[in-house]
């Protein structure tokens, strides 16, 4: 290790010198903005490359000349058929098989039984309770519209992910092609997926389902690959020695042995589907998301709060259930146990279902709760919020004014004032600092297309919002993490909270901030900050918890005070983990900023919404890639930096 660091030292020195020189150049360009030629401040119009036209041309070609339309139509017809079936069963849409709707008591009982089978009494209560709440609050129809799409989209995604993941596992070349695609796909904002789907499929539940399928495939591919790779070699060898053919080996050894990873993939698919289904309201997908969008736009806080709660409950429920399924270990039954004994949940479920249908036949209340019979908390909530607002209004008002006039607007103007060339040089400097010439080139490769796309100013507004949010999130998250990590129990509780909050669809975070700040930039920033604080908090705690206890003991024996311990031992060691958290935080912020565009921002998100409503694929994808590149740039810088830190720490330790 010492040998390595000796060799690394001059390189690191050079790296720093070059980076400093580049930084100086960036500073000069910035300072001299007013005297330097305009071409350095903004790339001239002539240099803008018409990416959007090219993409549109490609899509037109795909649509009209390649017969891709008929392929997508076949696929979407299949999806539509499945959607009709679930829609009929869940909320009685007049389609084949025309047996629905299933009474809500039966669905609630089913959920509770499944919950019990997977996770015992607590999950049973959560599952049953969620559906009873949905029914009693009169949200049944919307919730079922949402669920009917998830029920169809998730299996499609899982199968698609399994197939592609297996392909990548089997053929190196496929993996090499898929990997960068997945990286980009996972940093493309939700809207970027919607626009092509609108072009090919149109709007409505079918489009919502298909965009959900596409959006939730990537994690399944990743986890399939991971799962297949991590099957212990001896298990595979024992399969081979048993004389299994390749197919038998795949279906009876590899896939079952990778069960946990695959089911974690299923969990991710479900959570991504929920997030997307809610957002698909922007392309006419009915259900909870659409209702929430309408209510938020009408500023009906109480009602949107109710729907938000339902979405949160569903998110927690789906997450807990699928995780419980993933981690469940099979258990044996006593020998010769009766069928009833071996399948207790099935028996209970059959009984409950029978009772449910009987109740529904006796009284319509148990079949369907009409809107006017439903309970509503909206009145009291609105009253409460109003009371709260009158108390905090002066503070909130002042805060909003202060933030807008003294922080946000000056910062935004500053970001917009920066010469494009200065930003390019600056990015190259950062890249060079963390990873030498290669990183500098990678970073430029991400920024240059944005500069050439003609959306520079919009992108700078997005960057400014993300920067402000992430800085605030760091200011809040790191100290909070420090406090939480001080006690193991507190840390565990906080981590659980973070885990839970991360399962919520991003949309949910808009409800409280709109309630507090109304519809403006401050609300957007506030929502993004809350959303972005969660990963920082989480990784701060994990970074601090990951510090080896013997190091802490050694420092204690050296007589370090608590402050010294934190500054000199714990924080430096936690930095690599923290950087990973910051990276995730930036990703989350980017997505959230784009989503929040409908509240009224002037960044890439707003343009994306315009592209969405005019179904302009070229523009939409260019904007989507711009967002993705910002994210990938941050990802590259932070992860390279984090890796460098880890290497540094381990080389020092030896």
């Amino acid at each position: 290790m010492t040998v390595v660091s000796l060799h690394a030292a001059p390189a690191a020195f050079d790296q720093r010198r070059t980076a400093q020189a580049l930084l100086l150049l960036a500073a000069l360009l910035t300072v001299g903005r007013n005297v330097l030629p305009d071409q350095l401040a903004r790339l001239p119009e002539a240099m803008v490359i018409p990416f959007a036209h090219w993409i549109n041309a490609v899509f037109a070609f795909l649509r009209d000349d390649l017969g891709l339309m008929s392929l997508t139509r076949a696929f979407s017809d299949m999806v539509e058929f499945c959607l009709d079936v679930t829609a009929n069963l869940l909320y009685g849409k007049a389609r084949w098989p025309r047996v629905g709707p299933i009474p809500w008591v039966v669905i609630a009982a089913t959920a509770a039984t499944v919950g019990h089978a997977l996770g015992g009494r607590r999950l049973a209560v959560l599952a049953g309770g969620t559906f009873v709440w949905i029914a009693l609050m009169g949200q049944w129809q919307w919730a079922m519209e949402t669920l009917s799409v998830i029920v169809v989209a998730a299996p499609f995604s899982v199968l698609l992910g399994l197939a592609l993941g297996t392909l990548a596992w089997r053929f190196r070349a496929a993996e090499r092609v898929l990997n960068p695609l997945l990286n980009i796909a996972q940093s493309l904002p939700h809207f970027a997926y919607m626009i092509p789907v609108v072009v090919f499929i149109g709007v409505g539940p079918k489009a919502g389902a298909i965009v959900t399928i596409i959006f939730s495939v990537p994690p399944m591919i990743r986890l399939t690959l991971l799962g297949l790779r991590s099957v212990p070699p001896e298990i595979i060898e024992s399969g081979k020695m048993s004389g299994a053919t390749r197919w038998q080996l795949m279906t009876r050894v590899r896939l079952p042995a990778a069960r946990t990873e695959l089911l974690i993939g299923v969990n991710q698919v479900i959570m991504q589907s929920l997030a997307m289904v809610v957002l698909a309201s922007f392309i006419g997908m009915p259900g909870l998301g659409q209702k929430l969008l309408q209510l938020l736009q009408a500023l009906k806080i109480g009602l949107s709060f109710e729907i938000g709660l339902t979405i949160v409950l569903l998110a927690i429920l789906l997450d807990r259930m699928s995780k419980a399924w993933a981690y469940r270990q099979p258990v044996h039954h006593a020998q010769g146990a009766a069928w009833v004994r071996r399948h207790p949940h099935l028996v209970v479920w059959l009984g409950l279902t029978a009772v449910g249908f009987a109740l529904a036949a006796l009284h319509p209340f148990f079949a369907e709760i009409e809107r006017k019979q439903a309970l509503s908390l909206a009145g009291p909530i609105d009253a409460g919020v109003d009371a709260l607002l009158t108390v905090i209004a002066p503070v909130a008002e002042w805060l909003r004014w202060f933030l807008i006039t003294w922080v946000l607007i000056p910062l935004r103007d500053a970001f917009l004032w920066l010469p494009t060339t200065a930003v390019l040089v600056f990015v190259a400097a950062i890249g060079w600092r963390v990873g030498g010439r290669r990183s500098a080139l990678v970073c430029l490769g991400f920024v240059l297309p944005i500069a050439l796309s003609g959306w520079w100013d919009r992108a700078m507004i997005t960057v400014y919002m993300v920067t402000v949010s992430v800085v605030l999130a760091l200011l809040i998250g790191v100290p909070l993490g420090l406090v939480a990590a001080a006690r193991p129990q507190r840390a565990a509780r906080m981590l659980l909270l973070c885990d839970t909050m991360q399962t919520f669809p991003s949309f949910i975070y808009l409800i409280p901030v709109i309630m507090l700040f109304g519809v403006n930039d401050v609300a957007v920033i506030a929502a993004v900050v809350v959303f972005a604080t969660v990963p920082i908090l989480r990784y701060t705690i994990e970074g601090l918890r990951g510090v080896p206890p013997e190091l802490v003991e050694a420092a204690e024996m050296s007589g370090a005070s608590r402050g010294q311990m934190l500054r000199h031992v714990k924080l430096p060691l936690a930095v690599p983990t923290l950087l990973v958290g910051a990276n995730q935080s930036i990703m989350f912020s980017l997505f959230m900023v784009i989503i929040a565009a409908f509240i009224g921002t002037q960044d890439l998100g707003q343009e994306m919404q315009r592209a969405l409503s005019s179904a302009d694929v070229g523009k939409g994808l260019v904007l989507g890639f711009a967002v993705a590149f910002i994210g990938l740039l941050a990802d590259h810088v932070l992860l390279t930096w984090s890796r460098g830190r880890v290497a540094l720490l381990s080389s020092r330790a030896t």
Binding site: I235, E237, S238, S242, G243, P256, A257, R259, H333
Partner: protein, 340 residues
């Protein structure tokens, strides 16, 4: 020994792990040369031949390449150079269907870390090889149940691997390898996780099985007592090469290299050496009085040797005829250790 009666044989077998192109391998290639290019020779220039019904025990320190050698025999790993012949056929040249067929009908293997399928019950694990070859459900369940009770796991058929102890899992692995009645049986430290009592029981069971059906067995162990009890021949490996492959007695009495001598130095010779090995031709010397059986180890006849005052003791062969005479002093040296 000719190749005709050998079930498994290998000639100049090499297995080299490492990145990139494999270096050229000759008998003179050393481990150091390979290590310099970033390669590890797990099996180095091994030539062996195992007869039908023979039991070869492979011993050696951790990392000496025992498991790798056996994996090459079963073609779980492709040899880097050299060939493995199984029943006269080059296993490296077999097509996939041929290989699958060979494993389904002829081979069984017990793995060092069990290799049980986590999602199947003990019974289903044992029945797995039968399922692979398409046997019907009832007969495979019957066979698997029988195998499980053979290894003493009656009543645990429905348990999943994670519900079983290490030793129980290992026994499931043994039962699975026996389910297809293999002719060739590879066992990679099959008794390592068993307690001494069950271990002894399993060894007895093992010997009984071996006597009943002529299986060709390659057995890896770290336990010398076990090796001596079971082995026809022992191969001692060091850094991938076989240092000596011989009968237990010759390994102990006539170590081929210093390494083998050191490796076997702690062994109680009396438990290895049989009376027959010490018998010299009688050359007309008169013998009367009690004789010793040739196949008994000195340990078993120690009492007689110590208490019998004659300088030369008669040794009789299995058929009752006189084999020769044993020098009592030599025998006492082995039993009690050389006189100081």
């Amino acid at each position: 020994m000719s190749d005709q009666d050998s079930v498994i044989s290998c000639h100049n077998l090499w297995k080299v792990f490492g990145p990139g192109r494999m270096p050229d391998l000759g008998p003179a290639t050393t481990a150091e040369e390979l290590r310099a290019s970033g390669h590890i020779a797990a099996v180095r220039n091994v030539s062996l031949s195992i007869k039908r019904g023979e039991m070869l025990v492979v011993m050696g320190l951790s990392g000496s390449g025992k498991s790798t050698l056996v994996r090459c025999f079963a073609r779980l790993l492709d040899a880097t150079s050299g060939a493995v012949m199984v029943e006269g056929r080059d296993i490296g040249a077999m097509t996939e269907p041929e290989l699958i067929d060979l494993r389904r009908r002829k081979m069984g293997m017990v793995f060092q870390s069990f290799g049980l399928l986590p999602h199947r019950t003990a019974l289903e694990n044992v029945a797995f090889p039968l399922e692979m070859r398409g046997q019907d459900r009832n007969s495979r369940i019957a066979r698997a149940t029988e195998m499980l009770s053979l290894v003493g796991l009656k009543g645990r058929e429905g348990y999943f691997p994670h519900e079983l102890s290490g030793g129980q899992q290992q026994r499931v692995g043994i039962a699975r390898s026996l389910a297809v009645e293999p002719d060739i049986w590879f066992l990679d430290e099959p008794f390592s996780a068993l307690d001494p009592l069950i271990r002894r029981e399993m060894q007895d069971e093992f010997l009984r099985l071996k006597a009943m059906v002529a299986k060709t067995i390659v057995f890896i162990t770290h336990d010398f007592d076990e090796a001596i009890r079971l082995a026809d021949r022992i191969a001692i490996m060091k850094d991938g090469a076989v240092e000596q492959c011989d009968t237990p007695e010759r390994i102990v009495m006539a170590p081929a290299t210093e390494y083998v001598a050191k490796f076997t130095s702690a062994i109680d010779r009396a438990r290895v050496v049989r009376a027959g090995a010490l018998a010299r031709p009688a050359r007309g010397q008169s013998v009367e009085g009690g004789a010793l059986p040739a196949q008994a180890t000195l340990h078993e006849i120690a009492r007689q040797v110590v208490s019998d005052p004659r300088p030369h003791l008669p040794v009789t062969a299995a058929d009752g005829g006189l084999l020769g005479l044993m020098d009592r002093a030599e025998a006492l040296d082995i039993i009690l250790g050389p006189a100081a």
